[in-house]
Amino acid sequence: MIKKVRPHVNQNEALLFERSSPGKRGYQLPPLDVPAVDAASVLGRGNTRGEIANFPEVSEVEAIRHFTRLSAQNYAIDLGLYPLGSCTMKYNPRVNEQVARIEGLAWAHPYQPETLAQGIMQVMAALEQALAEITGMDAVTLQPAAGAHGEFTGILMVRALLESQGNPRKKLLIPDSAHGTNPATAAMAGYAVENIKSNALGMVDVDELARAVDQDVAALMLTNPNTLGVFEENITRIAEILHAKGAQLYMDGANMNALVGIARPGDFGADVMHLNLHKTFSTPHGGGGPGSGPVAVKKHLIPFLPKPRLARAEHGWSWNYDLPQSIGRVRAFYGNIGMHIRALAYILAHGGDGLRNATLDAVLNANYLRVLLEPYYKLPHQAPTLHECVFSDERQARHGVRTGEIAKRLIDYGFHPYTVSFPLIVPGAMMIEPTETESKAELDLFVDALISIAKEVEETPDLVLTAPHDTRTSRVDEVTAARKPILRWKPPVK
């Protein structure tokens, strides 16, 4: 029985271009206080454009209705649980939004005199310090724009370190459970990829690793806990094996939500890692970005950090460009400061003990789901669960129903689906991470929904196979969208 949602009225909304009408306007600019100039004479006729063909013209009322109606067609954290594995879809605190919009911070220009930017630089310095403390590393760069960008930055630093020692080496080892950005990053950084198999418990096979690490291996890219939510218990040994051969341990920090205040990657052997501020540190996903991917390093990698770096000078904080071994810039300016402000506000709100407490609740929530769902869904890896767990659709597959379909049926119950078919090492994977900001009531509703679906799979599988039923948009034809891509609106041919 579906308890969480009932169907509700939801309006149709055309595209802006279909609502547009010549002469409608949603803006007004103040009058010019200087003489107008004729564009064609000043710029040259060839440089001046005609009108922007088919660009929309709508009033303020239509604009606000348009976007408000569209927003009502989205699911969101503010509406309910997103059980997406490794996404850490936790509550996005609203005070973060307010402080990010404080005028002095929001309007700061990256090239304004440093003496007039001390406030924002202090914010960045405070965040760097907090992240270094949380990760147990020696220095942090806030420059990378997102997790994948952070990975790229971190691997470039590994390359620079090894180059400085005479040999950049040829390949990166990546576990078969890794997120797709890891091998893509390796390729962008000019490294070949070698896959490392997981053992039966879903952890890195240490013997295999020992065999695989040779003088051609630059680093192992590891997520800990891994994408099964399992802590790599041999992590110290893994780090030793790598370091003995002069290789580095890169840690993908996507799953830090299981470790904050409990264990620090810098303490268990990581040389370099990235963090996802939009995961562990609550900055909003906003429908797909922006993120921010700070990178934290141990001392031996500091010379290679992107430039510039925040440094102390006479007048306070200053940008130091004198970094001869730096890998250079990975983006213009200093980073996604708007997200830094939000992440710092999150850290300040929790405090040290609060951050640890949040981790405890995150792991409690995931274990609670595991225990209640295990009787109904196969859990292939029996190792202890931290912040997320991965079920397999094996039992349901016997009735002809797979993880993707169960996920779609969850929508009818009022939930966003879990992560489908990832990690690849679990066939028919159902990857679930609740985070600490879910109440027991919401988790119970989620459990009830999945138990009910398990029953439906056995008794009325068709209901699950053709889900979702109750959404205003039913399943979309992704095949035609890919075969015959229509990537923009065009005016109808008359």
């Binding site: 992704e478 890919a482 075969r483």
Partner: protein, 130 residues
Amino acid sequence: MYPEDLHYTKQHEWVRASGGTGTVGITDYAQQQLGDIVYVDLPKMGTSLEKGKVMGSVESVKAVSDIYAPVSGEVVGINDALATAPEKLNESPHADGWLVKIKLSAPDEISGLLSAADYEKYVAEEETGH
């Protein structure tokens, strides 16, 4: 089930040899595994292919699969129809959904491939292995 006039590989490609030319495609088993094909990436005319090496890829909505050249030679024909109608690969993998024609540089390679019967047996083993 699998046409007898074709030769097969364990990577699920097939070759139809005729004179010095081979027509190449992927098998019915492969297209079933991939699901609805949305795009086919083929080598350009004149490309030199080496047996066993990647020659292109096939995309479904959620997956990409490399295609390996079953035999060596020069690409002398490309199935242009697949550019606008990739579904042909699903509908007729052994005939209309052919991928490229190759001028065989080493015709003996054909004898090293699987016969229809052997391929069918191989596929059956793959299925139960799952």
